[in-house]
Amino acid sequence: MGDSLGFHLIFIIFGVALPLLISGLELYGIVTHRPRARALARTWSKALVILFIVGAVSGTIISMQFNLFWPRFMEFVTKPVGIAFALEGTMFMIEAVFLSVYMLSWDRFKPIYHWLCSIPIWVGSIGSAIFITSVNTFMNQPQGFTIGADGQPTNINVWKALINPATATQLSHSIMAYICACALVFMAVYAWLYMKKQHVQDRSWMGNVIVGLAIVGLLSGIAVAGLGDRSGKYLATHEPYKLAAAEGLMETQKNAPLVVGGIVQGDQIKYGIKIPSLLSFLAANDFGAEVKGLNEYPKYTRPSLVVHYFFDGMVAAGMLIVGFPLIFLGLYFWRKKWAFSKPMLYALVACGLLGVLATEFGWLLTELGRQPYVVYGYLTTAEALTNNDAVIRYGFIFPLMYLALITLGVAILRRTMNHNGVTNASH
């Protein structure tokens, strides 16, 4: 199941953020009377279709896997938050229908009417992300029900279940991260194309595209960092076991240190650099604040300290994806030639990968940090799994299929961006 989620997440990043970027770019082209911006939006929309097709299939597979592989999980969550699954599907349908309308009407509607068709696409994509992430927030902070005699949720309050303490933090952090990662991936693509293209005219407009995307990536990256800080405080209050596991904090303590790097060995993180009191500050804006350790929880309910790697990976990648565009933009306004030097462009290409990796690490931290529970405090992952042994077979088949899909997807995207990315928008 992890392979499906990890694979699908790549397409969620683009599925959620790209419609918004395309819509913004098209509006910018209309308002400022720049046909080149509209042409670029059109090229990106072609890439969106390819990403959408693969993402829709992997999304369908995940939906079915939830039902088939994790029946007890679905049995448990469908009562309190099942409506979110239905609404997510509806939002996806709105997105799919209007994406078709949008693609077919490029030369047929007036620009402003065509742009209006882009609104339901990003409303649908962000709406579906909101509803499905709400289910995940429920898994982290289950509420809005009582447990009946049969062990199933009863006395259900759907709103309370969906709008729980995790909802605002997790939704804002994840959706902003998708926008940041998407902008960075496209910036990386254009940085790569910039290095490959020798034509001065191509390079000139590509440089502008890179600058625009770097600004979007930087601003959204700063927003993600701010929201990440809020997430840290949320974790310290509502999911302290996750924060403690991410930092290998075994004992509750004041002036808790932040561990950077290191190797996880059993119940401890060795060889890490400890920065005194920083974890307390991150948790409560107070260097002397008390942070809960894993000793507060029974041993069998503690998550693995392996999440420390994901937390560190996410933060490190986050710092680089803010840092590189910042340096690039600084150089662009100070020494333009240096901004487009090969080392800087390679750094921008790396930003694309780092953006996706940071998002993947974030979700790995969220999911593995909740283990051994799938619905915290109520249902363990082992209990949720089906008893049918056939599930093991698909553990081998699906990763191979995903590999084939991603290879083909990248090949087609490469051709689309290489061809249309230059010809449509530059001439």
Partner: protein, 313 residues
């Protein structure tokens, strides 16, 4: 009409929508097998639009609605149907890979490995769901009883009839004689196999099979003979595909209602399986409220799809 019946009707209608749409997709896959030129390839390519991803939405909707409404039956049913639906999921992934491959090699017409895989995967996905439905209807996997075999073969013939007749309709100017003969053959096979299915069911002592939904379905199957005859007589292909689209749409609904009081024969009854008291009615009304937006999108799409690009700005 109790909410529980509305829930069953909605779920099965969604599966019916999926089955019909997947047959249309199959028609595109079949057309790719034809030895063709760039014009044919271009025409086929225009059918690859994101709108087809809505087919998958119906699948997800159907399955999710089933799980939400009948969540007390999720555990036993998922274990019953996991194997057959697992095959369907694998086919879905293969199909997606082949679609992407088709994007990459734009003029790939003819009998190639990729196109054959495209056809096989396109038919395997709906068939895996049919097989799951048969398990719920008969209490056994489809390959373990005569009724299962006859139903799955009927489904194959039905899907192929709808797919070939639709393919012929959208390429009606090209006069594909061989495809026409295949279409008529599978249409007749459908009627014969469906008649065999009804015959097998009448030998059963089970009361479910003499319920009105089953009788109604039997009537529709008999009507398919007349539709085929009229199609041949008047050469109106749209009559055939429209009738089979309707038949494919209503078959899951009618067979599921003929299975009542069971959700999964013989151990799971529908009443105790229903677990959506919390918001069953609210979910139905809420979903219905969003349909106007989707309808607007469909309206715009169909308008755009059929108008010429020139002079419409």
């Amino acid at each position: 009409m109790p909410v529980i019946n509305i829930a069953l009707f909605l779920v099965m209608l969604l599966f019916g929508c999926y089955a019909s749409l997947s047959a249309f997709e199959l028609s595109i896959a079949l057309l790719k097998l034809l030895p063709g030129n760039a014009k044919l390839a271009d025409k086929n390519k225009q059918y690859f639009t994101p709108i087809w991803e809505i087919t998958n939405v119906f699948l997800v909707f159907g399955f999710t609605s089933f799980v939400v409404f009948f969540n007390r039956a999720v555990v036993p049913i998922s274990e019953l149907v996991l194997t057959v639906l697992g095959v369907g999921l694998t086919a879905l992934l293969i199909r997606a890979a082949v679609v992407l491959y088709g994007y990459y090699y734009k003029n790939s017409q003819g009998i190639t490995t990729a196109n054959i895989l495209f056809v096989l995967s396109s038919i395997t996905v709906p068939l895996s769901f049919t097989a799951a439905g048969i398990t719920l209807l008969t209490g056994k996997q489809f390959y373990c009883n005569n009724m299962g075999w006859s139903l799955i073969l009927t489904s194959v013939a039905g899907l192929l009839t709808l797919a070939t007749s639709f393919a012929l309709y959208i390429h009606r100017k090209d006069q594909h004689i061989f495809l026409y003969q295949i279409c008529m053959f599978v249409a007749l096979m459908y009627s014969i196999l469906a008649a065999v299915t009804i015959q097998i069911s009448t030998h059963s002592v089970d009361d479910r099979l003499i319920s009105w939904p089953f009788l109604f379905w039997s009537g529709l199957v008999i009507l398919s003979f007349i539709t085929i005859a009229l199609t041949v007589l008047y050469k109106k292909l749209q009559m055939l595909w429209m009738y089979f689209a309707l038949l494919t749409l209503v078959t899951p609904v009618l067979l599921a209602f003929s299975n009542v009081p069971y959700l999964a024969f013989p151990n799971l009854q529908i009443q105790p399986s229903y677990g959506a008291e919390a918001y069953g009615a609210a979910a139905i009304i809420g979903l219905a409220a969003i349909f106007p937006i989707i309808a607007l999108g469909f309206f715009l799409f169909t308008r755009l799809y059929f108008i010429s690009a020139k002079g419409k700005r």
